[in-house]
Amino acid sequence: MRAALRHAWALAAVPVVSIVLALLLGSLLIIASSLATPQGLNLMLPFVAYENLLQGATGLSLLDVAGRTITINPSIKPDQAARAITSTLAAASPLVLTGLAVAVGFKGGLFNIGGTGQVLVGGFAAAMAGIAVANQPAPIAVAVALLAGVLGGAFYGFIPGALKALTGAHEVVTTIMLNSLAAFVIIGLVNDIYKITGPTFARTADVGNAALPILFGRNGNLGIVITLVLVAVTWVLIYRTPLGFEIRTVGANPDAARYAGMNPRRLIVLTMTLCGMFAGLAGAYEILSLGYYPAVFGSRIGFDGITVALLGRAHPVGAVLAALLLGGMRAGAPAMQITAKIPIEIIDVIQGLILLFLAAEFVIRKLIRTRAATVTPSEIETVSRSYGETVA
């Protein structure tokens, strides 16, 4: 039991300390920003903010803050909790998928920053297919639209993979370019061709029966279940199949993989396509929950996937935990903005700070004097080493 605990701590120590430090630094920022409010300096504001965040994410209330006094008073309202937890799950599951889109890339020594573009293309493909089958029976419509999203994302992941394998163009740069390209092209298409008249903003027609069915609560839809199944499938694929072994070998050491008779080029294309499939599904999930494709689809989930993958240590289970944290913050932030008047963007800052401390893990490890294992996936070294190099 103690050995198991020690093992868990060795894995989780640096991420947990990073999260705590980020929240502490975030609270300093909240105190500083209280100076910009009419009430002036308010040392209690972080407590109010984080209390609201927790309540919005889980329905759990820990503190009562009245003026300058804080009383610890754990309480929970069951119906509020059910609603909050459903929202957190709904926000977390696309993040799990975009997290896997980055994490699987890490395993293969690739840094997929193209999640944003793959989400857009996958979402757009799902919307197009969904509109086409809007009047078919729901099971068929949903399946077709989801499949279109996966294929759209796969296509958009295949491009940087093929570019890297054939020409050596580094995926970090090409995926960033592809992100912008997708945004420009899709905005143009929606505004000029697929826009419907009626709504006050530019958007496509409804996906009708292809909308993801709600299974529980207000927004607990099918996507949550699919995501959980996929996490298990991904774990098996990466750690228990020959293909997963090859991907991990190329990630750890491309030369060794080549000497062992593996084909790094093929695996690069395959891995990037796989990454694109995850992100494309996440995009499909977002659009089929919304019910249409808006011209301005400013989803951050592609970007957040990087945080999820790094915080979750490029492991499927880690990605779930990290996505729950981020999804909870996203779900709880509106409540915090209303009650504590803290701009919702504080979540982005805290997320950035978590990543900052993770990146500086060398310092964190000294700080907590731990022998904890390294947080940065070791394959990321391959990513950096290959920067600008050609694949032999």
């Binding site: 920022l29 920003s33 910009a36 840094f111 920053i113 570019l163 054939l166 020409t167 050596g168 163009a169 580094h170 970090v172 740069v173 090409t174 960033i176 370019m177 592809l178 992100n179 912008s180 390209l181 420009f184 092209v185 905005i187 143009g188 298409l189 505004n191 000029d192 061709i193 970007f303 990087i306 945080t307 790094l310 701009p343 963007e345 504080i346 979540i347 982005d348 800052v349 805290i350 997320q351 950035g352 700070l353 990543l355 900052l356 990146a359 500086a360 893990e361 060398f362 310092v363 940065t376 990321i380 070294e381 990513v383 950096s384 080493r385 920067y387 600008g388 190099e389 050609t390």
Partner: protein, 361 residues
């Protein structure tokens, strides 16, 4: 090939070339291109400074964004404190001067963070850059929402060379391209030439390249690898800072969340395109941005003949596709160029690899 789907291809190509030649020699297309290419070129100079010493920097975007915000805020604060102040040369009011300096300072500060993470802490450099981009986007967005800066510091003036100079053959064209924009745009060409000469002809340049190619060898002859890298990364931040200042103090007079709009990443591509040389990167920046300038030129002054009718037909039937096409073109070209060029473009050998002194842990 004469006609494709009823479109007279050869006729269009000839008309377009005639329009292009006309635009290059008689309109302000070159000056416009230089202006749009300025943040790309400055960002690319930052990238060259970093990567030549062996530090990959994909955080240029975040450095620019931070500098743009800090410069703008400083400018607004000063212009509120001293309204109606006299403008000096280039339209430099005290507010704008403080703004530009603050932007440069912010660029250097963020660069220092990148240097610390990638050199001292030996974090992965690509992750360090990504972290900087994410923090910059979040923090500027947060502060912008919180502080809601009203007002503006204004913008820097464009240079106004005497008409007699502009009428000269050849010289007039050069003056028109390089000396009719704001001071930050004008400064770019000097930075490019200076950096090109220094990188290949000075002691500093030799040391920088040695550290970027073979840090161990540089170390054995007594060059302080860590110090050279720190200095280059932080000085590179000056250029990222200027690019940010261009965004909010020269080209625009306001700050919007995420307004860098991936310019920092195009800069990264310009570095690779230019094979890690300042002049090459500058050429890359011009090549990537000339299309957007061309889009603006065509919109305000459409080409005559069938081509003009065709283009304005597209513009009126598909306005959004038409506009976004010119926005997307730099990214598409970057992709094509990267795919075609990278195999022959070799980065500094130690790019992206932290240096560990022998015997140290």
């Amino acid at each position: 090939m004469d006609a494709l789907f009823g479109i007279p291809v050869i006729g269009f190509v000839l008309q377009f070339l005639a329009y292009l030649v006309d635009a290059i020699f008689t309109t302000n297309l070159p000056a416009q291109t230089l202006q749009l290419a300025t943040p790309i070129a400055l960002g690319a100079l930052c990238g060259v400074m970093n990567e030549r010493s062996g530090v990959v920097n994909i955080g240029i975007e975040g450095m620019m964004l931070t500098a743009a915000f800090v410069g703008f805020m400083a400018g607004v604060v000063v212009s509120d404190a001293m309204p109606g102040a006299e403008a000096g040369p280039f339209g430099f009011t005290p507010a704008l001067l403080v703004g530009v300096l603050a932007a440069v300072g912010a660029g250097m500060l963020v660069s220092l963070l990148h240097a610390w993470l990638s050199i001292t802490v030996r974090a992965d450099q690509i992750i360090s850059g990504t972290v900087i981009n994410i923090i910059a986007l979040g923090l500027t967005g947060y502060l912008n929402r919180l502080l809601k800066p009203g007002g503006s510091a204004g913008t820097l003036d464009q240079l106004n060379p005497p008409a007699a100079l502009l009428d000269l053959p050849i010289v007039g064209w050069i003056v028109k391209m390089f000396f009719t924009s704001g001071p930050i745009t004008t400064s770019v060409i000097f930075f490019v030439i200076a950096l090109q000469i220094m990188l290949f002809r000075s002691r500093w340049g030799l040391r920088t390249r040695a550290v970027g190619e073979h840090p161990r060898a540089a170390d054995t002859v007594g060059i302080d690898v860590i110090w050279v890298r720190y200095r280059n990364v932080v000085l590179g931040g000056v250029f990222a800072g200027l690019a940010g200042a261009w965004l909010t103090l020269e080209f625009n007079a306001s700050f919007q969340n995420g307004m860098t709009a991936n310019r920092g990443f195009i800069a990264l591509a310009a570095v690779i395109f230019g094979r890690w040389t300042p002049i090459g990167a500058f050429g890359g920046a011009l090549f990537f941005m000339v299309w957007e300038a061309l889009g603006i030129a065509i919109r305000s002054n459409p080409p005559p003949g069938d081509l003009g009718t065709f283009l304005s037909g597209i513009q009126s039937s598909y306005p959004s596709i038409y506009n976004n096409f010119f926005g997307a073109l730099p990214f598409l070209l970057t992709l094509i160029v990267l795919a075609g060029v990278v195999g022959r473009s070799i980065p500094p050998a130690a790019d992206g690899r932290p240096y560990v002194k022998e015997g140290a842990t």
